[in-house]
């Protein structure tokens, strides 16, 4: 498991593209929003929690199709399926690797971008915490979507259609926590419910992902 994780991380960093791309996309989306809605500071700070979360979600979506596609094309996935490590474990590791290369950098970069959007000062801590809680669910759900579409020739667009509705609960809880923090309200409830979604996804979705991979590799 550790070897696979290290291999995936090394591939993501050295093969170029995937690692920085998500972050750059996150930055560009957040920069584009003020151009779209105008530079009014009050308006920006009101919509900042939602914009940051939606942008993080789209950035996580961007690199999903790479999770299994390359391994499927060069046959590494078939080898992994015959290895002693169960496919459920492979799925989980793939999701963890995706999170480490996409979700974690997003969490760390988010406060800087919150600065651009005039996010209320008291919300920065909750922004990072809510992203840390929520992004693992995004990676895991995305891994499931990637497994469903890996055998398809034009899976990219379909992947986003399948995955985005599944992101709704995570987005609601994450953005709500930040909004509450910006308004000076208690944030425990949405954060805990977000953690429920993440833990539930991590517990259930590796099995669904592995089932989908087995169908594709059959």
């Amino acid at each position: 498991m550790k070897a696979l994780l290290l291999r995936d991380l090394r591939l993501a960093i050295r093969a170029g593209g995937g690692f920085g791309l998500g972050l750059a996309f996150f930055l560009i989306v957040v920069v584009l929003v003020p151009f779209g809605v105008g530079p009014d500071a009050d308006l920006l700070s009101a919509i900042a929690p939602g914009v940051l979360w939606v942008a993080a979600l789209l950035a996580a979506l961007l690199s999903l199709d790479r999770i299994f596609a390359l391994d499927y094309e060069d046959g590494a996935l078939a080898l992994l399926a015959t290895s002693p490590l169960p496919l459920e474990g492979v799925s989980l590791i793939k999701a963890v690797a995706h999170w480490l290369t996409t979700g974690l950098p997003l969490c760390l970069a988010a406060p800087l971008l919150g600065f651009l959007l005039q996010l209320a000062p008291q919300a920065y801590g909750v922004l990072v915490i809510s992203l840390l809680i929520g992004t693992p669910a995004l990676s895991m759900i995305g891994t499931f979507g990637a497994a469903l579409t890996v055998g398809l020739r034009r899976g990219g667009l379909l992947l986003s259609l399948l995955v985005l509705p599944l992101y709704v609960p995570t987005l609601i809880m994450g953005a709500d926590a930040v909004r509450r923090a910006a308004d000076g309200q208690a944030t425990t409830t949405p954060l805990m419910l977000g953690a429920v979604i993440t833990l539930g996804s991590l517990a259930i979705l590796p099995f669904a992902t592995a089932a989908a991979l087995r169908v594709t590799l059959r």
């Binding site: 379909l158 509705p165 609960p169 609601i172 709500d176």
Partner: protein, 242 residues
């Protein structure tokens, strides 16, 4: 002799042929009686006027929108557990019907909302859940359309349907947490004292029964079409090889 024998494609075609005729006739009778009764022979509501009559389309279609997904979930589980091809095809056949019902419910709701709530759309938990359900239907149908091998498509869409069901329920409660509701509670329920008045209630139940039958008829018809398409493909590939 067991229930599963009727899932054999040949047997399924045999028994659904006559059943389909009867269900269709009953569906037409119930739907038209319920709708005509509801539209022309019920009094106007004392506050909402004649707009209340859209309930005869809105409630039955909303009911079937959810139950169609439920039926797809059951059919997907049967396919994954027992590998009956008819079951997978029935799930495939139900999706376009379900998405149409969802769309009818959303559109009639918007038309009713404009004069009563003063807005076509409001980010209310119920409305939002239905919009998300609509997106789930679209994704499900797109996945069916994208995969060529029928067995792989059936497997993957079944997995998506199960996971999608979990997330659809999650989204519903998350949306309830997220915003206050404008939509009224259930018009009909078995465990509540207060329901819609009897003059509205009876045609509504007839219309709901009509929509259930209509759904069954459409799904049977579409499933039979899918089976015939599958047979045609098999015949074509056989003649090509010969």
């Amino acid at each position: 002799m067991s229930l599963w024998e009727y899932a054999n494609p040949k047997k399924f075609m045999d028994w659904t042929g006559p059943v389909l005729v009867w269900v269709s006739v009953l569906a037409v009778i119930c739907t038209s009686v319920g709708l005509i009764w509801g539209f022309f022979f019920t009094p106007d509501d004392f506050r909402q006027g004649s707009t209340v009559k859209i309930i005869y389309l809105h409630v039955p279609s909303a009911l079937m929108a959810i139950n169609a997904w439920l039926m797809m979930l059951v059919a997907s589980l049967i396919w994954l557990v027992r590998r009956h091809h008819v079951s997978a095809l029935a799930a495939k056949a139900a999706a376009p019907v379900g998405v149409t019902m969802t769309l009818i419910a959303l559109l009639t709701g918007a038309l009713w909302g404009a004069p009563i709530w003063g807005t076509y759309w409001e980010w209310d938990p119920r409305l939002t859940s239905f919009l998300i359900l609509f997106l789930f239907y679209l994704g499900y149908m797109a996945l069916w359309a994208a995969i060529e091998d029928p067995d792989t498509a059936a497997d993957l869409t079944s997995i998506l349907c199960i996971v999608g069901s979990i997330f659809a329920i999650l989204s519903r409660y998350a949306a309830q947490f997220w915003a206050q509701g404008l939509h009224q509670g259930a018009s009909l329920s078995l465990d509540k004292e207060e329901n819609v008045a009897d003059v509205f209630w009876i045609p509504l139940v007839v219309a709901m029964a009509g929509f259930v039958l209509l759904f069954i008829a459409l799904v049977l018809l579409r499933t039979r079409t899918e089976i015939r398409l599958r047979r045609m493909k098999a015949l074509q590939s056989r003649t090509r090889r010969a």
